[in-house]
């Protein structure tokens, strides 16, 4: 992993001011806090975490759809905040997004072909006369029938709409795609179709991808590297196999234990994490996870732990990080 990463988030933070009470004691709710992440060309980085952990906000910031309160995003080393207007829009060609809701992500009033063609026209990817042919090619790439271009989105099922959304994202020939929960609204069997499609495209087109999901299994299946977030911060980051194989952060372990599996396993009811996500408006001092952590002790409240290297390419934000060896101490 050498050279400039394709996309790099540098100490990214995003807060939403929230007014409590009558005369506005302003209080910041941090959706994302101090997130640094480098995505190398050709990589698929999976981001997992429960609702409210900031993974979607992170994805939108990386694409520049939301501006960070602090920190910077660099695309091939260029700070996104330093480019604006037409030049910024040109840069948009290279980064695209696939959304969660297959029903909200397509304009109900325009034909599928017209929506796929938008990207081709805005960025003049092909000559005006070749737009139709290119749309047809894209429709074929995502495995839809040829006559799809002339139809309206409501004529398609959820899985097909997600394919259309992928085709639209591919139209600008991007290098980088952010997929925000692209399969979680789909039925299991359809989910597999879309997961396979994304895997094929990544291989065939050499796409770099930021894959956001709450389903550990899907992330593990698709991504080469995994990022686990909790309450706006990255708590663990490393190669997928290692993070999910032998998680080093107690939250990752809990998440893994909480995710049901079809393969027979002994359900350890004791391992069920107690309590709920603390309010992002009022996070615990020190390590945000300590209120629910089975390993927590007084030192955890003292300061936010660093995202410290654990092994090569593997970082963990826990002062007690390690494989579950400390379980026995309890």
């Amino acid at each position: 992993m050498t050279g400039t990463p394709l996309v790099e988030a540098d100490r990214l933070s995003r807060n939403f001011p929230m007014r409590t009470g009558l005369f506005g004691r302003h209080r910041d709710v941090w959706a994302v806090r101090d997130v640094s992440l480098a995505v190398q060309k050709g990589e698929t980085v999976g981001v997992v975490g429960e609702s409210g952990c900031g993974k979607s906000t992170l994805g939108r910031m990386v694409l520049g759809l939301e501006s960070p309160s602090a920190g910077a995003i660099r695309f091939e080393g260029r700070d996104l905040s330093s480019v604006a207007g037409a030049e910024r829009r040109r840069l948009a060609r290279r980064m695209q997004m696939v959304f969660q809701d297959p029903f909200g992500s397509l304009d109900p009033r325009r034909s599928v072909g017209a929506q796929i063609a938008d990207g081709l026209r805005v960025h003049r990817i092909v000559a005006a006369g070749e737009v139709d042919a290119e749309v047809a090619r894209l429709i074929d790439v995502v495995g839809l029938q040829k006559n799809a271009a002339g139809r309206r989105p409501h004529e398609f099922s959820g899985g097909q709409r997600q394919r259309i959304a992928v085709a639209r994202a591919l139209a600008t020939r991007p290098d980088f795609i952010v997929a925000d929960e692209p399969v979680s609204a789909l039925d299991v069997s359809i989910q597999a179709q879309v997961v396979n499609l994304l895997a094929d495209l990544r291989r065939d087109l050499g796409l770099t991808m930021l894959f956001i999901a709450h389903d550990l299994h899907v992330v593990r299946h698709l991504s080469t590297r995994a990022v686990v977030m909790y309450l706006g911060r990255i708590v663990e980051e490393g190669p997928s196999e290692k993070v999910f194989g032998a998680p080093a952060h107690p939250y990752t372990r809990a998440l893994l234990a909480a995710t049901p599996s079809i393969s027979a396993r002994k359900v350890d009811e004791e391992a069920v994490l107690a309590g709920e996500l603390p309010s992002p408006a009022n996070p615990p001092s020190g390590c945000a996870f300590r209120t629910r952590c089975p390993l927590a002790s007084d030192e955890c409240a003292a300061a936010v732990p660093d995202l410290a290297p654990y092994e090569s390419g593997w970082k963990v934000r826990c002062i007690k990080s390690g494989p579950s060896q400390r379980r026995g101490d309890l």
Binding site: E50, R60, L63, L65, R89, R90, A92, M95, Q96, M97, F99, Q100, D101, G104, S105, L106, D107, P108, R109, Q115, D118, V122, H123, G159, Q160, A165, R168, A169, T172, D187, V188, S189, I190, A192, V195, N196, A199, H214, D215, L216, H217, R220, H221, L222, A254, A257, A258, T259, P260, S261, I262, S263, A264, E269, V272, L273, A274, E276, L277, R292
Partner: protein, 625 residues
């Protein structure tokens, strides 16, 4: 679109009269004929003559000219300005919003008629002051409506996608936003025209609007009031014209709304609320298939359950959504109903409790249920009152979305007390104490205080716990849980699953039907599983056996599509679930099945019993695995 024909054609006639008035063979609208003042209808003057002997019909038509041109003119002018303000304010938000929408809204601080009167005071009465007043008056209305619609549309992903695409913001506003806010805008225009006619005629009536001798309906009514004793009909004509025109515009508005908004409320209200029974009880059918049931289902035995769409005259009426479902539940057992959307799993569970939506009807089947007192009852034949006695008491339900399933305006404690009091003869105070104890039991910390909270004050997990507390309050024999953990995060889902397991240990008699789409959840909590596909049970058996060796290709594919294990590619079932109206003639899975042979496509396969405690609807179950 058909609904629009009536109001649009009436309006076309009115508008044609108004536009063509100068060329129509009408009398001069200002020509007086004092000797014949207050003359009744005659051949020359169809509607009679007014206090100056002028022709009433002519004046009515010319009055419409004044009223409509003022109303339509100001409605369109206001629409133009208001839409621009609303679109810009809603799309760009921030400071732009302040100077567009918020600024326009200041006008709403004044009651409408008063604002108009103020303008008239300043500029005097007349045509243009009226246009100005009404435009000023309605601009904020449009700005608001368009602003609200813009906010709604703006949050949709296809707008974000346009931004991600690098499209110019103004182009997004015009090409993507505008067409999508058009429907509420069109409705608003017709509403405003009606309202503008009311205000214009009101002002003219007060003598502060259109200036005589220009005819106007308001002025005509004003004049007729003075002559009520001589010619009461003079009051009637303009009143009818005015009310009729407004009525037409209101009708147009209503019809537009129902045409443009497909989510229109279904007519029919709530059949369950009516005292008289309006749906005939489904005919009992002989449960011939049940005899083959090797598993003695002593708690609940559903046989041949068929649910159809019941919309007389509507599209797809009679379409079967659930087809001949058999399933059995033993005391203390957990049965998982698993399937994708449209498989009929939720409908099956709702049918058992009599909670199906009004547009659905059970057309066949029985559901034998053994009551606490030992009596055997067919739940399908039960009417609303019969169900009511069982529901919440012996049979209870947990729904998927607790935030929607709890009433937002009542405290959690009250909602819990309510179900206790509905079925048990205990005092309110005792019920309250029990409610608090129950909340504690389902793991809500500080239950005493939480009982006084409203649903929105609880977290998602706590709301689902409260929902479960309501369900188990009266120690049911049968608990139906419809996707109770689907909307929850993994760690909270694990907590809720653990809670259900815990409650089951506490009341080992309780049978649970657990509806879910998640195979992994099934694997962890259920004893037996029913796999549903396109309205049928395609496979049933003990969880361990079914997962180890599925006997239906759909089950095989479903398990293969779960991204666990190391397979490079997932098993993806090609195609999609057939729509209820378009079931293939043979096995409904055949079009997507790798194993399908000619026989599969010919006739629906019967149920096979590979083992005494398992069944499948597949001709080739031997070869599947």
């Amino acid at each position: 679109m058909r609904k629009l024909i009536l109001p649009v054609s009436i309006l076309a006639v009115i508008l044609a009269l108004v536009v063509l008035a100068p060329v129509l063979p009408l009398a001069d609208e200002r020509a007086m004929d004092i000797p014949h003042r207050f003359a009744g209808p005659s051949m020359a003057h169809w509607l009679g003559q007014d206090e100056f002997g002028r022709d009433v019909l002519t004046r009515l038509i010319y009055g419409a000219r004044a009223s409509l041109s003022i109303a339509i003119g100001s409605a369109l002018a206001a629409a133009l300005i208001g839409t621009a303000l609303g679109l810009l304010g809603g799309y760009f938000r921030g400071i732009v919003e302040l100077f567009t929408v918020r600024a326009a809204e200041i006008i709403l601080c004044l009651p409408p008629l008063l604002l108009a009167l103020l303008v008239v005071t300043i500029f005097g009465a007349g045509f243009w002051p009226l246009i100005l007043a009404l435009t000023l008056l309605y601009t904020p209305n449009y700005a608001r409506v368009v602003y609200a619609a813009t906010l709604q549309v703006r949050a949709l992903d296809f707008v974000t996608a346009q931004r991600a695409l690098g499209t110019h913001p103004l182009k997004i506003v015009l090409r993507t936003m505008l067409p999508n806010v058009l429907p509420p805008l069109v409705v608003q225009i017709s509403l405003v025209i009606a309202s503008a006619i009311v205000i214009e005629s009101g002002l003219s009536f007060l003598g502060l609007g259109v200036v005589p001798p220009t005819p106007s309906w308001g002025l005509m009514i004003r004049a007729a009031r003075g002559a009520m004793e001589q010619a009461p009909l003079l009051l009637l004509w303009p009143s009818v014209a005015l009310a009729g025109t407004i009525l037409t515009f209101n009708l147009l508005c209503d019809r537009l709304q129902s045409v443009l908004d497909p989510r229109a409320v279904p007519a029919g209200g709530a059949i369950w609320l009516r005292r008289r029974r309006t749906t005939p009880i489904a005919p009992r059918i002989a449960p011939d298939q049940v005899e083959r049931d090797h598993a003695p289902a002593d708690l609940l035995s559903v046989a041949g359950l068929t649910i159809s769409l019941d919309r007389p005259g509507g599209i797809g009426s009679g379409m079967e959504l659930v087809r001949g479902v058999n399933l059995g539940l033993r005391t203390g057992e957990t049965l998982a109903l698993v399937g994708e959307s449209g498989s009929g799993k939720t409908l099956t569970s709702l049918a058992v409790t009599g909670l199906l939506p009004d547009v659905l009807k059970i057309t066949a089947g029985t559901a034998a249920y053994r009551r606490r007192d030992g009596e055997l009852r067919d739940l399908i034949a039960e009417d609303e009152d019969g169900h009511r006695q069982l529901r919440g008491d012996e049979i209870s339900m947990v729904f998927q979305d607790a935030s929607a399933a709890l009433n937002p305006v009542h405290r959690i404690g009250e909602q819990l007390t309510e179900v206790i009091l509905a079925h048990r003869a205990i005092g309110r105070a005792a019920a309250k104490r029990e409610a608090v104890a129950l909340l504690g039991r389902v793991g809500i910390p500080d239950a005493e205080r939480r009982a006084r909270a409203y649903p929105h004050e609880l977290s998602g997990g706590q709301r689902q716990r409260a929902m479960i507390a309501i369900a188990v309050a009266n120690r049911p024999k049968l608990l139906l849980a419809d996707e109770p953990t689907t909307a929850l995060d993994p760690t909270i889902q694990a907590q809720i699953l653990a809670l259900i397991a815990d409650l089951k240990r506490e009341s080992p008699e309780m049978g649970v039907v657990f509806v879910t789409h998640n195979l992994a959840v099934v694997a962890e909590i259920a004893d037996r599983v029913c796999v549903m596909y396109a309205g049928q049970v395609v496979e049933e058996g003990p969880v361990a056996k079914v997962f180890a060796r599925p006997r239906h290709p759909y089950t095989v594919a479903l398990i293969g599509s779960v991204p666990e294990g190391d397979a490079e590619r997932l098993v993806a079932i090609p195609g999609a679930i057939p729509a209820p109206g378009h079931m293939p003639p043979g096995c409904s899975f055949a079009p997507r099945c790798d194993h399908a042979v000619a026989a599969c496509r010919k006739a629906p396969p019967p149920e096979f019993w590979p083992e005494p405690d398992r069944r499948t609807r597949c001709l080739r179950f031997e070869e599947v695995t």
